[in-house]
Symmetry: C2
């Protein structure tokens, strides 16, 4: 396994492999790899000849009061996991390499970034869009894997890749969960034991919303109420949002047709927990032709 | 010569050629090709195995009151010129292909876009940065040629390519001029005969600034005054700006050291004329060690 530290070495490696007809699968990460990342790497490993994992805690997607400095960093452990999974290249650039002093260019996907996480974290998605553009341009992947857990991020990246004609298809991998339903996240390590015990309430709330839809409910506000009620019973959790949205535009839905994504964010202690459930369904029998 | 109309066909062509080890030279244009473009194409032809010329009048770099609808379009003539010059691919996409209805992503290079043309044309460089990102991502060139005439555009594109790690080196080709010094531009066709006769005043003004520097003048405001005086003598011309700048950042210089770019924009009738002169020089003898 090769560790690449500079942008020019990364670009050269990709160019050389493409010249040899090799396909490249890419898994961009901020490190602190867990089973969710492992699943992405394995999917990439199955689909492509060579796999690149980037490990870069991107400062431009953190707000000034956020956890950039204490975000978990464990490059040795991450490299060991990558080696074990047969990764070909770990791309672990320094911040100075990725953002030299004079760098100023930013990429924005305005409509996709406006709501939900964008309200809580004003410059977050500009940072995400900019770093993803840079990474895709350097790695030149045939396919790039993202976890479904950060649904808005994935939807925004899909729009970004289409809009800027960036290389590679975006592949979305289902969210990996603990046995009690909590979505895996590098930030779960911040939870105390009681907070950790409370955390699955988010997934339970989303499941309650999904159950209401399966039972025939099609009104957005009513589905939202089902979800809210579940979280209200958990004193350690504060709702940031629980919404019923169009899966492509992320605009809230008042009435559901065919597809919806239930998006949720809770604050539990020091952590913002994110999760989502994507649902496809037929119209209600009464409304079918 | 191949005419490519869709983004996917363009990306496929480039991928295939890279796989064959072929180098790609790229000349992005808005069509209405003239001797300036021809010089870029010939430079690309000499340096690379294959040459792609894009012809696309990019709507997002025109302001609402600008000349988008009447910008000269002559695809047949342009194709004939490209064929004659041994171009391999003319990439001439439709607006709908480049900007589908839902597209929303924008690329900005804020510091480079703020001054000069950016003041007169507020969203112009955002449009330029976005289309150049798309084109470079599709064409995947080894080198991309730009004319020096649009100096701020070239400097901004160089920053953009570095910041987003976009493929290919940016190569700047000297400005092509008419015998009387007027820089070639597709918009020169808008000039009436008296306006055309007045137009070389811009280059004369820049030359006067350069002459002052060669004579030892190092104060920005004084050099500016030399240039202004030349234009003031021409009743058909209105100064938009005449400035003495750092060639990399485009910030105005009060005192010159080693390098400067003289940037000029005049309005003559319906046309904004742009031109520039780049100067390298030693410090004044008295200031040398």
């Amino acid at each position: 396994m090769k560790i690449i530290r500079t942008t020019s070495a990364m670009a050269d490696w990709s160019r050389r492999l493409h010249r040899e007809g090799v396909t490249i699968g890419f898994v961009p990460t901020m490190g602190a790899l867990h089973e969710g990342h492992r699943a992405l790497i394995r999917a990439a490993r199955l689909a492509c000849d060579a796999v690149v994992v980037s490990i870069f805690v991107n400062p431009t997607q953190f707000g000034p009061t956020e956890d950039l400095s204490k975000y978990p960093r464990q490059l040795r452990l991450d490299q060991a996991l990558c080696r074990k999974e047969g990764v070909d290249v770990v791309f672990a650039p320094t911040t100075e390499t990725m953002y030299p002093a004079a760098s100023q260019t930013v990429v924005t996907v305005p409509a996709m970034a406006r709501r939900w996480e964008g309200e809580a974290r004003p410059h977050h998605f500009q940072g995400v869009a900019t770093i993803v553009t840079k990474l895709l341009s350097l790695v030149q992947p045939d396919n790039t894997w993202f976890g479904q857990k950060d649904y808005q991020q994935v939807a925004l990246v899909q729009q970004l890749v289409k809009d800027l004609n960036l290389p590679g298809d975006v592949v979305v991998h289902p969210t990996m969960r603990e046995a009690d339903g909590l979505a895996l996240s590098s930030r779960n390590v911040y939870l105390s034991r009681p907070q950790r015990q409370a955390a699955p309430v988010l997934y339970r709330a989303l499941q309650a919303g999904a159950a209401a839809i399966r039972a025939g409910e099609r009104r957005g506000t009513h589905i939202q109420r089902h979800m809210t009620r579940v979280v209200a019973a958990e004193p350690l959790a504060t709702i940031e949002y629980l919404s019923v949205c169009n899966p492509n535009t992320l605009e809230p839905l008042s009435a559901l047709h065919r597809q919806a994504v239930l998006l949720g964010a809770l604050r539990i202690g020091p952590v913002r927990l994110l999760d989502n459930v994507l649902i496809s369904f037929r119209r209600r029998p009464s409304r079918q032709m």
